[in-house]
């Protein structure tokens, strides 16, 4: 990540009727970095991105991109941007190569088609119609269309939503590759593991405002020296759950998942095993882990990211 700021957003506001979808959002994205807006559905991530992509106009606020201060995104700026929409479509009867050629015609300096096809691993599907592609292949095609102009700034709106684990990993490697090539990626996601794996900087959004900002490590460090213990316990009684407070400083029960926070792992583990025997509650899928962004979001809002 370079120190140079490529995109600066100040006090961005967008209303839909009485709903304040984006409520004074400000952040900076640096050159050669992955900047992530993380939050649940309806947090305002996509609206923020759509303003930056030029789809919507803000009600207030300022955007500084490529060194120019703008009220809204111009066509000149779009020449240097690439956009992967959350729900954009393609003509189903066009072939992969035809679509990329069409999108290439919109830009002054497009990348050779074969280069883009290789970048998104669609060389074998160049002659296939869109309707014959899998979900993952369509998403890679969408990324290819977003990269056809070799953009400096790339918006990826929920790029892995609905993809299977393998397709998700493929997308992650594309994003990592972009960063390595010096591109700036602005990503939205509601997958905390995606944000942790890819991001240099994360803004956690909820109800149109940014509630926390920093690198994944900085955000989770807010939990200090604590370690998380997690296990599954079906049908846990209130009485048994209440006894857990003797094991550690804090715990929470989310459905069948029980999570404990501790600074003293050996002591807490001993107490937990004792509790398991006394209450006759087996500790299924027991894991010990570091705090993650899900824990951060939960501690800030009292809700899980995917609720």
């Amino acid at each position: 990540m370079e120190d140079r700021v490529l995109l600066r957003v100040s006090e961005l506001v967008k209303h839909y009727g009485d709903v304040r979808a984006v409520d004074g959002v400000s952040f900076e994205a640096h050159v050669a970095s992955v900047f992530t807006l993380l939050g649940p559905n309806g947090a305002g991530k996509t609206t923020t991105l759509e303003i930056l992509e030029g789809i919507r106009e803000p009600d207030a606020g300022e955007i500084e991109v490529f060194g120019a201060r703008l009220k809204r995104i111009t066509r000149d700026v779009k020449q240097r941007m690439g956009v992967l929409l959350q729900d954009g479509g393609f003509e189903p009867y066009l072939k992969v190569r035809e679509i990329l050629r069409l999108f290439a015609s919109f830009y002054e300096n497009p990348v050779p088609l074969d280069e883009v096809l290789a970048q998104v691993a669609l060389e074998d599907k160049a002659g296939a119609q869109v309707r014959a592609l899998s979900g993952g292949q369509r998403q890679r095609l969408a990324v290819g269309a977003a990269l056809i102009n070799d953009p400096e700034l790339i918006f990826l709106d929920e790029p892995t939503t609905g993809l299977d684990p393998q397709a998700r990993r493929n997308m992650w490697s594309i994003v990592t590759g972009l960063k390595e090539r010096g591109k700036t990626v602005l990503l939205t996601t509601h997958y905390m593991e995606e944000a942790e794996a890819l991001s240099d900087l994360v803004c956690i959004m909820d109800h149109g405002v940014i509630i926390a900002e920093g690198s994944p490590r900085e955000l989770t460090r807010a939990f200090g020296e604590e370690t998380m213990i997690e296990f599954h316990a079906e049908g846990l009684s209130d009485a048994a759950a209440g006894e857990l407070s003797a094991c550690c400083k804090g715990f929470r029960v989310d459905g069948a998942t029980v999570t404990l926070e501790t600074k003293d792992l050996p002591t807490t583990m001993e107490a937990l095993f004792a509790w398991s025997r006394e209450q006759d509650v087996p500790l299924h899928n027991l894991i010990v882990r570091q705090p993650n962004l899900e824990d951060v979001f939960l501690s800030l809002t009292g809700r899980r990211l995917r609720e």
Partner: protein, 405 residues
């Protein structure tokens, strides 16, 4: 410019690969041409016939010592009377009102014939009865013949040809009556008739020549009314437009590319219909006239603009298709595309006058010489241009590139 060309190419490729679009663009108009040419090209071979014939008797009230004028009048009278209950008469006769100026009436009837309202106009000349009697009785001056019956026909109408054949048979019957009364066979006593072809062309015009321009326009009309909003609105619903929107592609260039592709498809459709009409049904009509080419272009652009208008006002693709369906029937059938609209009641005529299709249909047939002008040249061009301007202004203001939230 390359973006416009690639968009045009995309539009053409998609239309050709998408079967439903291909059906409306190519299969449907071809089907209509084949169907109408086969059915109406054989009109009169079977089924009930009712022909509109204007009857102008200039000899009424004149001297008719042999009763020949009255006899001819009676024959036409019978043709205008149903032969059985519930059956239509062979002729529906249109006569002048008592005391009406015959010259003005005749002029009106000829205009109606040109516009396709009537199938024939028959004029019995002044002095017919007296002259016929004089020839039979041998009292006519040497070389003096009876004035001939004039039969006006539209060269663009099969029904008109049929009416002329029937009238010829009627006059043959009158000839036999005259010869019977004369008691001798003398061809010089036969009633002379003069057939006057009404129309702009001197060439023989076949029904398919009349039909083909209408089918071409119908094809353009369906493309514009259904194809344009369909393509735009389905692409909007499928979020394809949204994806274009985040690129530097501008709205006018998108429209330009779309329009170019659409016109290319119209051109392809025209070529196919023309070849089928010419080599499948023997059409002799030539579109290689500047007026016809310009009218075809004007029609394609007008209908496309109308499609833009629908696309801009509809919230969804389904709503756009429903709007097109509602407009389809009145616009197509109240235009003179398939049948004459001169005899419609006043409130429907208002629709005809507001309908751009009326002007384009008449303009194309006029430029091809198969129909006379029903509107002034200014209106023929001005009304479609007015609709184009209105549609473009509304579409550019109202068209949304994204589904509403």
């Amino acid at each position: 410019m390359k973006d416009v060309l690639f968009l045009a190419r995309t539009h053409v490729i998609t239309a050709i690969r998408e079967r439903i679009t291909l059906f409306w663009f190519l299969v449907f108009p071809v089907f209509m041409l084949v169907l109408l040419a086969l059915i109406f090209g054989q009109i009169g071979q079977e089924g009930e016939i009712n022909l509109d014939v204007a009857w102008v008797n200039r000899d009424a009230g004149g001297s008719d010592p042999g009763g020949f004028t009255a006899a001819v009048e009676t024959v036409f009278e019978q043709l205008g009377t149903p032969q059985a209950s519930g059956q239509l008469p062979l002729f529906t006769l249109h006569r002048p009102d008592p005391g009406e100026d015959l010259d003005a009436f005749l002029e009106e009837q000829l205009t109606a014939l040109r516009r396709g309202r009537w199938d024939a106009v028959v004029v019995l000349p002044s002095g017919f009865g007296e002259a016929t009697y004089a020839r039979i009785t041998g009292t006519a001056e040497p070389g003096e013949g009876a004035p001939g019956v004039s039969v006006y026909m539209s060269e663009t109408s099969v029904a008109s040809e049929m009416a002329a054949e029937i009238i010829e048979q009627v006059l043959g019957e009158v000839d036999r009556e005259i010869l019977t009364r004369a008691g001798r066979f003398d061809p010089s006593l036969a009633v002379e008739s003069e057939t006057v072809w009404v129309g702009a062309s001197d060439e023989e015009t076949r029904y398919v020549d009349f039909l083909l321009p209408g089918i071409v326009l119908m094809g353009f009309f369906v493309n514009g009314l259904f194809g344009v909003p369909g393509a735009i609105l389905f692409n909007r619903d499928r979020k394809v437009l949204r994806r274009y929107w985040v690129t530097p592609l501008s709205v006018p260039r998108y429209f330009a590319g779309f329009a170019l592709g659409h016109l290319a498809l119209c051109g392809l459709q025209f070529v196919l219909l023309y070849l089928l009409g010419r080599y499948g049904f023997g059409a002799t009509i030539s579109f290689a006239r500047p007026g016809a080419a310009l009218t075809l272009l004007l029609a394609a652009v007008t209908f496309m603009a109308f499609g833009f208008l629908i696309a801009s006002l509809a919230r969804t693709a389904n709503a756009g298709m429903a709007t097109a369906n509602i407009l389809n029937m009145p616009m197509m059938f109240l235009s003179g595309m398939f049948f004459p609209v001169g005899g419609l009641p006043a409130f429907l005529k208002a629709v005809v006058y507001a309908n751009p299709v009326s002007y384009l249909v008449n303009g194309l047939r006029l430029s091809l010489g198969v129909e006379s002008a029903s509107f002034s040249p200014g209106l023929l061009i001005g009304v479609p241009l007015g609709w184009i301007a209105l549609s473009v202004v509304v579409a550019s203001r109202k068209l949304k590139w994204d589904v509403e939230r």
